[in-house]
C-alpha cells in the first residue's frame, strides 16, 4: 500500500484510496470491538487488547462564496498555498484519523493522519512525548503543531469557527506544524506557569524551504493561567518564532509562478482566553472570549515570479482576531468573531506584492448545535472585506462527527 505523506497534493489512484479505506475501516472495527471482547470484569489476555486509541473525525461543508476563491489574494501580504476561503459548493473537509497510546511507562505517542478530499493522505502529526521525565518537564519529538499562538496546537476540528482566523491564514498558511523537538516545563506553583521552546526543521510556512543541518527555526513560548473563583478561568500567552526562510514560496504557487523570499522572519504572538461557566459546570451555559495578536517582521530578498526582479524586502505586518462564543442553552452555541490585518511597513523592490494601502478585515457569526458530545452541526456567515473591491458574503454549513475513542480538548 502506497501512501502519500506531506502537504503536496498528489492525485491518488483509485486502488490506493480503496485499500486505504479498507485498512482504516478494519482498524476502527478492531478498536470498537475490543471492549465487547473484553466484556466482563477484567480484560483478559488477547492480542488486540493493546491497540492504540483510535478516533476518526469526519466532516463535510457546504460553502457559498460571493467572490471567486480562485482569485483570492490579500494585497500587501505574501500568502502560502493554503490561504483560501475554501471551495464553492458541497465538499468534505479533510478526515482526521488519530491514533495514540502509551508506549511504555515513560512515553506516549500519537499520530494524526489527514485524508484529504482529493484522496491524498498527509501526516499532520506523528510524535512521541515523555510522561516520565519529572519535575514538570515534558519532551516532545517528531512532527507536531508548534506551541506558538493559542489555537495553533489544537486540531482544526476543535476550533470554534469553521474557517481559520485571517492571521492564521496569512502568517501561518493555515496552521504551523513542523518537525523537531519541543521542551516544556510547568512550574510547581498554584498559578499555572508554563515555559517552552522548540528546535525545528523549518519546513512549515513562515520558515519554509529552510532545510539545512542544524536548527532551521526555533521558538520560545510562555503561558500563565488560573481560575478566578469557581466560575471563571483564564490563560494568557506569548511566543516568538524565529525562522530564516530560504526560498519561501508565496503568491501564484498553484500556477507554478511562486514568488520566493529568503532572509529572516520573526513572528511574535500574544494570546488570551477567558472562560466562564456558572459553578464551573459548562454543560448548561458557558461563554468563552479569546483573542490572538500576531506581529511579523520579514527582512531579506524577494524574487517576483512575474516581475522577474529580485530585490530588498522589508515588511512589518500584524493581524489578530477577537471572538466570543456563548452557549445560551444546552447543545446550542452562538459566536461572533472579528478579524483584522495591517501592513505597517513594506518595502518590496521586487514588485511582487500589490498595493499595501488596504486593511483587510472580516466579521463572522456562527450558530452551532451539538446533538451529543460526538456530533455538531454549524452554520457560519462571514462579511469578508479582506480584499478591496466589496464584501465577500461567505456562508458555510458544516457537520462534524467524532467516531471511536475521543478524549476532551485542550483548554
Amino acid at each position: 500500500m502506497k501512501h502519500h505523506f506531506g502537504r503536496s497534493r498528489h492525485p491518488a489512484s483509485r486502488g490506493t484510496s480503496a485499500s486505504m479505506r479498507v485498512a482504516v475501516m478494519g482498524m476502527i472495527a478492531a478498536a470498537l470491538s475490543l471492549p465487547a471482547v473484553a466484556q466482563g470484569s477484567m480484560i483478559g489476555s488477547s492480542a488486540n487488547a493493546f491497540n492504540p486509541a483510535i478516533s476518526l473525525i469526519l466532516s463535510g461543508t457546504y460553502t457559498h462564496l460571493s467572490q471567486d476563491p480562485a482569485a483570492y489574494s490579500l494585497s500587501g501580504f505574501a500568502l502560502g498555498d493554503a490561504a483560501s476561503p475554501g471551495q464553492r459548493g458541497f465538499g468534505i473537509s479533510p478526515s482526521e484519523l488519530h491514533l495514540s497510546s502509551n508506549i511504555d511507562p515513560d512515553l506516549y505517542a500519537a499520530m494524526a493522519l489527514i485524508i484529504n478530499p482529493d484522496n491524498t493522505v498527509s501526516l499532520e502529526e506523528a510524535y512521541f512525548q515523555t510522561t516520565g521525565l519529572g519535575n514538570g518537564f515534558t519532551l516532545k519529538g517528531g512532527r507536531f503543531f508548534s506551541g506558538i499562538g493559542m489555537i495553533n496546537q489544537k486540531h482544526p476540528h476543535a476550533w470554534d469557527f469553521i474557517d481559520e482566523p485571517l492571521a492564521y491564514r496569512t502568517f501561518l498558511n493555515f496552521q504551523y506544524g513542523d518537525e523537531g523537538l519541543q521542551v516544556r516545563w510547568v512550574a510547581p506553583t498554584e498559578t499555572f506557569i508554563e515555559l517552552g521552546g522548540e528546535a525545528l526543521r523549518g519546513s512549515g510556512f513562515v520558515a519554509g524551504g529552510n532545510e539545512k543541518n542544524g536548527i532551521g527555526a526555533h521558538s520560545l513560548f510562555a503561558h500563565i493561567g488560573g481560575d478566578a473563583g469557581v466560575s471563571q478561568s483564564w490563560r494568557v500567552g506569548g511566543a516568538l518564532l524565529n525562522a530564516a526562510p530560504r526560498g519561501r514560496e508565496s503568491g501564484a504557487i498553484g500556477a507554478g509562478l511562486p514568488d520566493t523570499f529568503s532572509g529572516d522572519s520573526r513572528l511574535w504572538t500574544a494570546d488570551f482566553i477567558w472562560k466562564w461557566a456558572p459553578n464551573g459546570n459548562p454543560g448548561i451555559k458557558n461563554a468563552v472570549i479569546q483573542g490572538e495578536y500576531f506581529w511579523r517582521e520579514d527582512d531579506g530578498l524577494m524574487s517576483g515570479a512575474v516581475s522577474g526582479i529580485t530585490g530588498d524586502y522589508h515588511a512589518r505586518q500584524s493581524g489578530g482576531y477577537l471572538q466570543g462564543v456563548y452557549q445560551f442553552m444546552p447543545r446550542w452555541r452562538a459566536g461572533l468573531r472579528y478579524d483584522v490585518l495591517a501592513t505597517h511597513e513594506l518595502n518590496d523592490a521586487s514588485g511582487a506584492l500589490a498595493d499595501p494601502n488596504y486593511k483587510p478585515s472580516r466579521v463572522g457569526v456562527i450558530l452551532e448545535f451539538a446533538k451529543s458530545q460526538f456530533s455538531r452541526f454549524r452554520l457560519q456567515y462571514n462579511a469578508d472585506q479582506s480584499q478591496p473591491g466589496g464584501v465577500d458574503h461567505q456562508v458555510y454549513a458544516q457537520y462534524q462527527l467524532s467516531l471511536g475513542a475521543h478524549g476532551g480538548h485542550q483548554f
Binding site: 466484556q39 511507562p105 510522561t131 518537564f137 506553583t189 493561567g225 504572538t269 454543560g283 517582521e297 467516531l403
Partner: protein, 330 residues
C-alpha cells in the same frame, strides 16, 4: 507590540523566580522526595493529594489527616463527566504526590489531558500515586453492548460508585494502604486513622440502613443513571430514566413515553443530582404530582452534605421526606 510581548515574557520569568524558590522549599519536604529539610522551611511535611471528586477529597482528609494537603479538583455542583482541562488543574497535577480519582472512564474527558501536560511521573497511571477508586469495588451496569448509539456509556460499568456507603468503606481500606505505600513514613498514622474511620462508618451505616427501611421497594424515576449503587443499597426500584440514553438531554418524546408509563406504573419520586439542572424532573413532577428530590450526590452537593457522614445523613433524609410527603403504600 514586540516590546509588550517581551515585557510579558520578562514578567512571567520574574514571577517564576519567586514562586520557584518557594516551591523548591516545599518540594524538599515532600516525603519520598529526599529528606532535605531546614533551610528556613518550617512547615510540616505533607503529602500533596489531588482528588478528582469531592467524595474522594473528603475521604483523603479522613484518612490522611494532618499528613496530607488535599486539593479537590471539582465541586459538588459540577458534572464530573464534563470538566475543562483548566490551567489551574494542570498546575495542581504538577504538584501532586498522589491523585485520588474515580476511574472507570468518569474523568476520560479531562484527566488524561492534565496528566499529559503536567510532566509529573509520580501520578501517571501505573504509578503508586495514581489511585482509581472504582477498581476496588464491584461495578454495576457493565454494558453488554458498547456502542455510541447507547449514549455516553462507560465500558467499565457505571462509575458513580460513591452513592453506596459500602463502596466508600472498601475504597477507604484500599486508600489507607496506598497512602502508606506512597508515604511510608506515615503508614502507621494512615492505618490507625482508617481503623477509627472504619468503626465510625460501620456504626453510621447501621443507622442509615435502619432509618431507610421504609425506602425498600419504593419505585423511583431517575433523571440520569447516576444512582444504581444507591438503589442497590437501599432497595429502591428504578422504573424509568428521564435521559433516554446516558448523557443525552431528555427529549420531549421520551418524556411523554415516561409519563405514559407512570400512569400505568406509578412512582413515588423523581430524583436528580444537585449538579444537574432540574428542568426535566420539574416537568415530570408538574404533570404527575410526584415530588422532585434533589440529592447531594457528593460532598458539597447540598448545604447539608458537608462531609461523607452528612452526605448520607442528608441523602437518606431527603428520600424519607419524599416518601412521607406522598403518604405510605405503593
Amino acid at each position: 507590540m514586540k516590546k509588550i510581548i517581551n515585557l510579558c515574557l520578562l514578567l512571567m520569568l520574574g514571577q517564576l523566580g519567586i514562586n520557584g524558590a518557594h516551591a523548591t522549599c516545599k518540594d524538599a519536604q515532600v516525603p519520598g522526595e529526599g529528606e532535605a529539610r531546614g533551610s528556613g522551611c518550617r512547615e510540616r511535611p505533607a503529602l500533596q493529594v489531588m482528588a478528582c471528586e469531592p467524595e474522594w477529597g473528603a475521604l483523603a482528609k479522613e484518612i490522611g489527616g494532618d499528613d496530607v494537603v488535599v486539593y479537590t479538583a471539582t465541586t459538588g455542583l459540577q458534572d464530573p463527566h464534563r470538566i475543562e482541562a483548566r490551567p489551574s488543574l494542570i498546575a495542581q497535577v504538577r504538584r501532586a504526590n498522589m491523585l485520588v480519582c474515580t476511574g472507570a472512564d468518569l474523568e476520560a474527558g479531562w484527566l488524561p489531558l492534565l496528566l499529559r501536560q503536567a510532566g509529573n511521573p509520580r501520578v501517571q497511571p501505573g504509578a503508586p500515586g495514581y489511585f482509581e477508586a472504582a477498581s476496588f469495588v464491584t461495578k454495576l451496569e457493565i454494558p453488554t453492548r458498547l456502542d455510541r448509539s447507547e449514549g455516553d456509556v462507560h465500558a467499565a460499568g457505571n462509575p458513580h460508585i460513591q452513592t453506596d456507603p459500602r463502596n466508600i468503606a472498601q475504597v477507604a481500606e484500599a486508600l489507607s494502604k496506598r497512602l502508606g505505600e506512597v508515604d511510608p513514613a506515615h503508614a502507621a498514622a494512615y492505618q490507625s486513622r482508617h481503623a477509627a474511620f472504619s468503626a465510625k462508618w460501620n456504626t453510621a451505616m447501621q443507622r442509615w440502613e435502619k432509618r431507610a427501611a421504609p425506602l425498600k421497594g419504593v419505585a423511583i424515576v431517575v433523571q440520569h443513571r447516576g444512582f444504581p449503587y444507591l438503589s442497590n443499597w437501599l432497595g429502591l426500584r428504578e422504573i424509568a430514566t428521564l435521559e433516554s440514553k446516558p448523557g443525552i438531554e431528555p427529549s420531549s418524546s421520551h418524556l411523554s413515553a415516561v409519563l405514559a408509563q407512570l400512569q400505568r406504573q406509578p412512582a413515588k419520586m423523581v430524583i436528580h443530582a444537585a449538579y444537574q439542572g432540574d428542568r426535566a424532573s420539574a416537568w415530570l413532577a408538574s404533570r404527575t404530582s410526584i415530588p422532585v428530590v434533589e440529592l447531594p450526590f457528593t460532598v458539597g452537593g447540598t448545604p447539608e452534605a458537608q462531609d461523607l457522614f452528612s452526605l448520607f445523613d442528608d441523602t437518606v433524609q431527603r428520600l424519607l421526606k419524599a416518601v412521607q410527603d406522598t403518604g405510605s403504600g405503593q
